[in-house]
């Protein structure tokens, strides 16, 4: 899960990290009140959305007066940024900036450790910096036994802060990094990012904040559960799936897929494309043989109006094919489906599954390619 800027900054502030004075608001009146009573002028009005690119979309603007705050906030609230409607804005103190840095703590899969990435060329997309100025990006591994190695961190510090701009002492810098690492581990994050980071009165200050939380760790952090609904850019189907504990991702195509296992679900999408079709979704019904999951899955894929045909691809191992077929039969009785269905089921108890599917008028193939080619054909026939 991704924390919105204002949520990440709340985490920062409770860890003792300096941020500009700021207040999150959801209405025009509150925005003006925040600027007048607390933040002052100039201030920045920042859209709070779970997608990137809000700056380019006009979702971050400077306001110098009460009238400008009102005017800008009324434009930003309700604005659409990459499919997300802006419902919250952050009214933030406009801090004087002499130089912008980039800083993040991120999981490094290769070394199996967190890594600090820092650049004196902050304020822009880090991907951009790594392409245009790779020499301006510095990395430092966090050792799980030693923590940060002082000698190494000193070298890093010299490289990053050798240029112009306000200075920060090594000890302040080091303790700042330690606070970030602390957040990274204590909150089960996989990314803690500050871009831009500035030096303000000899202290490090986070002008922006991004935290990605490990979904597997959320169970240990009830303080974030209130954000789950607000923070996602999910489609209607993705939301339904999450509530039913299914993994579903909306795609652009018109062949709905129901598959067991994430790898096979991806390979199924790829094979659909290989045979000239296009998948409407990724859907992993998981390894269990719970018929209710199949019923829910069917409801979700049938609710997507773009769908022209349905493909079922089940490789039963631990999943029992007859359970899937029973769930499907139950689903077909509950959910009215007018779409053509192509079905492939092999593995544990597949003969029984075939009998059940046949009893509701669905043919079962044992061959994945054959079933997919059929689904592609069915998706085009209706056009």
């Amino acid at each position: 899960m991704k924390l919105l800027e204002y949520q990440a900054k709340e985490v920062f502030r409770s860890a003792g990290i300096l941020t500009p004075k700021e207040i999150m608001v959801m209405s025009l009146d509150d925005a003006v009140k925040a600027a007048e009573d607390v933040v002052g002028y100039p201030c920045v009005v920042k859209a709070q959305v779970p997608v990137g690119g809000r700056g380019k979309a006009g979702g971050v603007r400077l306001a110098k007066s009460k009238e400008e705050v009102a005017n800008i906030t009324s434009k930003i609230l309700g604005m659409d940024i990459k499919g997300c409607t802006v419902e919250k804005v952050l009214i933030s103190e406009a801090v004087t900036v002499s130089k912008e840095y980039y800083l993040s703590v991120v999981l490094h899969r290769g070394s199996k450790k967190p890594m600090v990435i820092i650049s004196p060329s902050g304020g822009v997309d880090i991907e951009e910096i790594s392409k245009t100025h790779p020499e301006m990006i510095f990395k430092e591994e966090f050792d799980m036994i030693l923590g940060f190695k002082d000698y190494s961190l000193r070298n890093l510090y010299k490289k990053v802060f050798s240029g112009q701009g306000e200075k920060v002492s090594f000890s302040v810098f080091k303790s700042f990094l330690e606070k970030l690492i602390d957040i990274y581990f204590k909150k089960d994050a996989t990314l803690v990012e500050i871009n831009p980071l500035i030096i303000h009165n000899g202290q490090c200050m986070a002008l922006d904040a991004k935290i990605l939380l490990d979904d597997n760790g959320l169970v240990f952090h009830p303080e974030f559960s209130k954000y789950v609904n607000d923070n996602s850019d999910e489609t209607e189907q993705e939301k339904m799936a999450r509530e039913a504990s299914l993994t579903y991702i909306s795609l652009e195509g018109d062949i709905a897929c129901m598959v067991n296992g994430a790898g096979l679900a991806m390979a199924t999408m790829d094979t659909i494309t290989h045979f000239g079709g296009s998948a409407a979704n990724f859907l992993d019904i998981g390894g269990s043989s719970n018929p209710e999951k199949v019923v829910n899955a069917l409801k979700i894929i049938a609710s997507n109006k773009k769908v022209k045909s349905i493909l079922i691809n089940i490789f039963g191992g631990i999943t029992r094919c007859d359970d899937i077929a029973n769930g499907f039969k139950e689903g077909i009785e509950k959910v009215k489906i007018d779409l053509p269905i192509s079905c492939r089921i092999v593995g544990t108890n597949d003969q029984e599954a075939k009998r059940i599917m046949n009893s509701i008028g669905i043919n079962v193939s044992v061959n994945m390619d054959e079933a997919i080619q059929n689904a592609v054909k069915l998706s085009k026939d209706g056009k």
């Binding site: 999981l107 450790k113 760790g217 296992g261 096979l264 390979a267 494309t273 998948a279």
Partner: protein
Amino acid sequence: MSILVDEKSKIVVQGITGRDGLFHTEKMVQYGTNVVAGVTPGKGGQLAYNVPVFNSVEESVKATGADTSIIYVPEKFAADAIVEAADAGVKLIVCITEGIPINQMVTVQAYLKTKPDIRLIGPNCPGLISPGKCKVGILPGDIFAKGNVGVVSRSGTLTYEVVYSITSSGLGESTCVGIGGDPIIGTNFIDTLKLFNEDPQTQSIVLIGEIGGDAEEKAAEYIKKNIKKRVVGFIAGVTAPPEKRMGHAGAIISQGKGTAASKVEALEEVGVRVAKIPSQIPELLK
């Protein structure tokens, strides 16, 4: 030969009295796997599918000489179960559990690094099988046949799909290893490739990768320098959208990195035959 497990492996099942643990213990025993012990704290002294249950891994190792552990413990306790197995001196630890917090695994990996003779497979994996000898995990035994193809994969059911097509084509497998779909895993592609390269039974290798991370690119570098056997590959997720986690915690194209295209290109560049769809794999092996 085969790699990692064979008829001599002595298996201890951690979480043997749980729903999944018990079900798969039965399947493993029926396959002919030498399951010597089970562990569930507080349930020592019982029998589970005729396997003696102990309160700790240490007790089970002392009593039975178990050298391989399989973990079916829920995600909240699985990281600790790995550490317990390592402390008890189990040499091969296979963790099936999905959903262990990533930073718990970061800590566990740092700990395991201090014990270089212990190997972890997984977590979030289907386990491994040396057909006809030993099955440690949840893979469906009946789709495998003893043979000369080594299979290594980040996936579960996709592996079964590929194995099913390999076996149906008349070939068989030496060992099939599911290394897991998490971002942080114990044994990686390179570790497994190295073992397959040294194994006389294995004549060719199938590598099944997916989007996310750069393990396939690293494997390609290794193949170029070290592997003389034929390698056939498949990468899932060619059509996956960016910034979306495709079921597996590790399967995500992030900031333009970890795409299927990059992996396919890296593998093809070093001579790996990469299948466009899973059903092409047996043909590419011949």
